[in-house]
Amino acid sequence: MSVRTPAWVPALYLGPAVLVMAAACLYPVLSAFQLAGFDWNMGTQWGSARWVGWGNFVTAFSNPRVWSSLWTTLLFAAVCVGAEMVLGIALALALERPVRGMSVFRTLFILPMMIAPIAVGLGWRYLFDAQFGLINAVLQFLGLSAKTWLADPTLAFVAIVVADIWQWTPFVFIMMIAALASVDGSILEAARIDGARWWQQTFLVKLPMVMNVIAITLMMRLIDAFRVLEVIYVLTFGGPGDSTEILSLHIYKTAFVGQELGVAAAISVLLLVVVAALSWGALRLSNPMKGETR
């Protein structure tokens, strides 16, 4: 469509939103880069900040805690997203047939995503509590030994992974159910008539046809896995030690507990680069402007 309109018309429609996003989102993001070059502590005047160039990056990257935090983040993202994709796709394949009452089940499945992260974190913190937690109570009921979940580095990591899988597997499931529902039934029918077995139908016909949705879902989950902060903040606050301190939390602690805002900004530039790379990939897979020639 190419109606000739004076330039002020689109400006009128887009202006307010662009202005707000530029001032309150893009400008802060770009400022992070600038801040990363200054030695600046919380509570001091911005005027007293000292330009240190790459100094904060040197400080950040020579700190082993930053590296261990990056490793924790990568491991967390890989384990959570891997498990969520496998579980979500498997469950969707098992339950793709439309049945009566599915809309009720779908409503229940989205609850974990809608509820406040603070409530999710608190709920799991209580469930994993060594003394009063339901998980230990069930373990003991089954004759197994209770575990000090949130006090053990490995088990605490398991706990944040379990909470994330609980919250986000339904997302993959719902995306896949929707994608499988859109597969052309006649192609499957043809495969069936040609004698394709169940696994051939699934892996050679069905899944390749929804590969695009799988890829997009994977990218969306990966991006979000690198952005997680609040649930872990409540559940473990990065502990014990720094065993569950993902990058977002490390940035928060460096800035608002350690009060080293410049160093924290340098680390957030690192996180931003990782997420921007993933977003770029996601954009290439799913571009809402795809096919437009303007």
Partner: protein
């Protein structure tokens, strides 16, 4: 093709197990909020406790609870209204006009959608201090509008595109003013998108607490921030904090039960044609 009864039964059994897994932790939050401190400490597996509203009474009588509730409602509702208004206009502008810089705006918006909030926390704290927006509810509103606009614009963009421009032109030729074209042609067709965008925006503004923690004080705290302050090094007062968590969870739960379809539209937007 009908499936044998045992397969259908198995299908439902699996759905029931999954639904239980999804709902159980949420039920635990509500159940704990209804237990007395002594019961919580005594026997976690005892579900036959006498429910009490004691925790809720304690939370509601808490200093300033009504103030925090008011703050949360204000921030949630005002952010949602402004985001929808600005986002709707921008989506319409992007979908209906071609102009220089359109692609640049579109792609920047898409990328802004994924910025981690932890990255925003530090510069926002500095800039908001400069702009005197720290400890002000409008400061939070501005931030939530900005971070929710990208998703809203792209969700609504898809909906505007589905409405043929010819339909609007026809209505205009029939003598509808621009406002009537909007309210009688565009709005009804965009309603599901608007519902989804409102819920997602309200959810972020109502639930978010890290940036709110950084940007608010005793007067301007929102409910999630107040709840997070219940967690101390000494321990957690489970009954009260769960009562607080339950109260925070209620509005999103209501939205989910009322508008599950629209939420799923929003979740799958861009990836699966709904």
């Amino acid at each position: 093709m009908r499936r044998p009864a045992w397969l259908v039964a198995g299908h439902y059994a699996m759905l029931l197990v999954l639904a239980f897994l999804c709902v159980a932790p949420i039920l635990v939050i509500f159940a704990t909020s209804l237990r007395q401190q002594v019961d919580i400490f005594a026997e976690p597996l005892n579900f036959l406790f006498t429910p009490t509203l004691e925790n809720y009474r304690a939370v509601l009588e808490e200093d300033k609870f009504d103030r925090y509730l008011g703050n949360s409602l204000f921030v949630g509702l005002v952010s949602t209204v402004i985001t929808l208004l600005l986002g709707g206009m921008a989506a319409y502008g992007l979908a209906r006009f071609s102009f220089p810089g359109r692609r640049a705006i579109a792609y920047t918006t898409l990328l802004l959608r994924t910025v981690p909030l932890a990255v925003l926390a530090i510069p926002v704290f500095l800039i908001w201090s400069e702009w005197q927006l720290v400890n002000s509810l409008w400061g939070l509103v501005l931030l939530y509008v900005a971070v929710n606009l990208p998703f809203t614009i792209w969700l609504l963009y898809g909906f505007v595109q589905q409405v043929p421009a010819e339909l609007e032109e026809a209505a205009a030729i029939d003598g509808c003013g621009p406002l009537r074209v909007f309210s009688e042609v565009l709005l009804p067709l965009m309603a599901p998108g608007i519902a989804a965008a409102s819920i997602f925006t309200f959810r972020i503004a109502w639930n978010e607490f890290i940036l709110a923690l950084v940007l608010t004080d005793r007067q301007t705290r929102t409910l999630p921030v107040a709840a997070s302050l219940f967690i101390t090094d000494i321990g957690v007062d489970w009954g009260r904090v769960m009562a607080m968590g339950s109260l925070i969870a209620i509005p999103p739960l209501i939205f989910t039960f009322v508008a599950a379809r629209q939420i799923i539209t929003g979740l799958t937007a861009g990836a699966v044609k709904g």
